[in-house]
Amino acid sequence: MYFQVHQPTRLRLYRFFDIGKDSHYYDDFTNRTILHRVAQRCYLPMNRLLLDLIKKHGGAFKVTFSITGSALEQFDRYEPEVVDSFRELAATGNVEFLAETYYHSLSSLASEGEFKHQVEKHVKTIEDHFGVTPKAFRNTEMIYSDSIGRMVYSLGFKTMLTEGAKHILGWKSPDYVYTDPLENRLKLLLRNYSLSDDIAFRFSDRGWDNWPLTGEKFLSWLKAADGDIINLFMDYETFGEHQRESSGIFDFMRYLPDVVLGDGSFEFTTPSAATRKYKAIAEIDVPDPISWADEERDVTAWLGNELQQDAFNKLYEQSEKLALLNNPVLWEEFGHLQESDHLYYMSTKFFSDGEVHRYFNPYNTPYEAFINYMNALSDFILRIDDAVATSGQEPVRKPVKKKKTK
């Protein structure tokens, strides 16, 4: 079981009139309030529960986390207690921490240099916080393609997690280890989205014909799958935040290891251990990026419309100028503006996956999200241009490759 922990650095209402005058882009109050709420509902009680389970079952219960740099910054600032409780989990040795992009960004789709920079920054941050060095990798929103796999391997990772998307698997089962066709030494673990979403999305749905979900029922489904490994990947906020405590989600998790381990057909493992133990059975071709989002399992939740594409292009056009500047403040700002959440808020896919989008979205409309983001980005660009001007170096003008627009 693998859990993703992330909190975006939400922007404040940033008006045109603020451009060039006020360069604080973030809504500290909202970020702090939400973080506090989620810490109370999810992070703290769930970490306690997992720690109890690890103690109870000795080495037999294992879990995996990835925590974004953006989330860790907010923990450090507002809820250091949460970091302590993750540290306790790390100390058990039964928890693997994954590497990812520090800022939960789409840099893997934009620039290899920026991607590499963020992964290294994240690895270092995890080492500093938890004293462990991540060996396996998960990209933002499970985004993966053959070429991203190759980049990941070149950064020293041998295991990567992604989505078991139906359109790439076809008849194949997600419950085996696969490899990247461009880089056979990179092992891939694919999310079993059906079983993962039974917990993450459907658990409290009383209209679901399998409600209520019990440990025994879930075990019977696990047993019905034939394969080497079943990958249950989900947002950590599933526990207590998306699925409220009143839904019984904590009781389900408290009981599940008893049922699974008692049955004896399964063991809990972590990504790096799994890819050591199981051989890859085949290559899997993913020429175009996939993700774990929406029905399409592609990147259209972030880059699906012209607003998102323009924002994305404008943002990454700044890399060149930034590269000329040794300015940590601007680099950090650049990072926060890269959080994929900002683009997600501009999504116009309100019809098929609208419910999920709306749940995660602080803006009333994608247009508002776009205007607000572009205003902040415009101010950021002004700051870069000023810094470039004062540093006396003119950026080398190279045409930047644009994303295809419809």
Partner: protein, 429 residues
């Protein structure tokens, strides 16, 4: 000379430009020795009573049920109103409006003789009903004040029925004032025929029609079939008294080109976006702002994104109060690329703030502003040329700003009112 004037709104509580214009007119008339009784559907009590006697139609019970008034009411009673009719409203006000309307709905909507009707005086979706009731109450008011005025003056279609009722009941001459027509709100083949009918009735019943520009005068003659000798152009003016230009600290070092108005088809917002993209091909040091809201806003946002200029093209949403002045103060060029604009007061405001303005030939303001740059709304190349020139050649921009400022300060309601007084004199027998 005394005039009974029917308006829809009056400062300080205004949603559109009509209230501001009425205030200027009434004040100008006073300076020309014309006394005004100003009737409005819903007065708040804080209107400036020094320039006119204000009558709040919501305070007046219906006593007369002249059959001719009933005819109007019957004619419009069935007209339930869609939002496309709401003439001067932005989405922010819409929610408020819907709520207010719900409250009104809960009260009886049947008309009863001897009862007062509480008008919202806004532009809600029960507008047609309000217009009809306003006609009834208007007739009553005219009868009550029969000996206190020499003629009737009604502003825009909302008040025409009231004007007609007053004329029928008192026999006094009627002047209708056309600030905008249905053709400025819809496209040629998509106008609201119910509004058109009221407009036409008003113009036909009137002894003289005042149009805010020659452009509008031509529409009145050609589209409504009104005899040319009955239609007189009196250009709008603008009242800047008591206004100091704001000093605002600029955040942007680059130049700013601004569009300010409702983002609707009539205002030509997309021509501005196209022109902006052309300018940005030649110079980087400029930002474009589209201030306002409207039914084309989202489409415009997508348009700018598609052209890849979103980091230089900003949307502010609807601006209130001092933010409007602030926006002018931050601007280097103002643009009004309207497809159809009866007059268009905003470039006057911009020029008063020392901002050189580019306006379309299809606006009434183009008839009076010598020092504004004029282009056809569809000619985005010419628009881009003018923007570029104003950004790059300071001598030109300074000249346009200075002369423009002088020019708009010479446009006084006093002069416009003097022309109106002549129109009044021509109808009083």
């Amino acid at each position: 000379m005394r005039v009974l004037m029917f308006g829809w709104e009056f400062p300080p509580h205004i949603a559109g430009g009509l209230g501001t214009a009425c205030y200027g007119i009434v004040k100008g008339l006073a300076e020309n020795g014309v006394q005004t009784i100003f009737v409005m559907p819903s007065a708040s009590g804080d209107e400036d009573g020094s320039v006119a006697t204000i009558i709040n139609a919501s305070d007046v019970p219906v006593v007369s049920t002249s059959s001719s008034v009933d005819d109007f009411v019957n004619m419009v009673k069935f007209m339930k109103v869609g939002t496309n009719m709401i003439p001067y409203v932005d989405p922010e006000q819409f929610h408020e409006m819907v709520e207010a309307e719900k409250r009104l709905r809960e009260e009886s909507t049947e008309k009863h003789v001897g009862e007062k009707f509480r008008f919202s005086g806004k532009y809600g979706s029960n507008l047609m009903e309000e217009v009809a009731r306003y006609a009834m109450v208007g007739g009553t008011i005219a009868m009550e004040h029969k000996d206190e005025f020499d003629l009737i003056h009604a502003h825009d279609w909302l008040t025409y029925l009231a004007g007609i009722a007053a004329k029928e009941l008192t026999g006094k001459p009627l002047v209708v004032h056309v600030h905008a027509t249905s053709f400025d709100r819809g496209t040629e083949d998509m106008i609201d025929t119910r509004v058109f009918d009221i407009e036409k009735r008003g113009m036909e019943a009137a002894d003289k029609v005042i149009a805010v520009s020659d452009l509008t005068r031509n529409i009145v003659i050609n589209k409504y079939g009104i005899s040319p000798d009955k239609v007189v152009t009196v250009h709008n003016a603008v009242d800047f008294s008591g206004r100091e230009n704001l000093q605002v600290e600029r955040g942007l070092k680059d130049k700013v080109v601004t569009f300010l108005g409702r983002i609707t088809f009539q205002k030509g917002p997309e021509y501005f976006i196209e022109a902006a993209a052309k300018v940005l091909k030649r110079t980087d040091h400029v930002h474009f702002v589209m201030a306002g809201s409207g039914d084309m806003m989202n489409r415009c946002i997508r348009h700018a994104a598609r052209l890849g200029i979103s980091d230089r093209f900003h949307f502010t949403g609807f601006l209130r109060g001092t933010d409007v002045q602030k926006m002018f103060a931050l601007s280097d060029v103002y643009i009004m690329p309207s497809v159809s604009e009866p007059f268009g007061i905003s470039p006057l405001e911009a020029m008063r703030s020392n901002v050189p303005s580019i306006i379309s030939n299809q606006s009434g303001a183009a008839e009076v502003l010598k020092y504004a740059f004029k282009v056809d709304f569809w000619d985005v190349d010419a628009m881009a040329d003018d923007i570029y020139a104003l950004l790059k050649y300071p001598a030109l921009a300074d000249f346009a700003a200075k002369e423009g400022y002088e020019e708009v300060n010479r446009l006084k309601w006093n002069h416009a009112a003097a022309k109106m007084k002549k129109v009044y004199e021509s109808v009083i027998k």
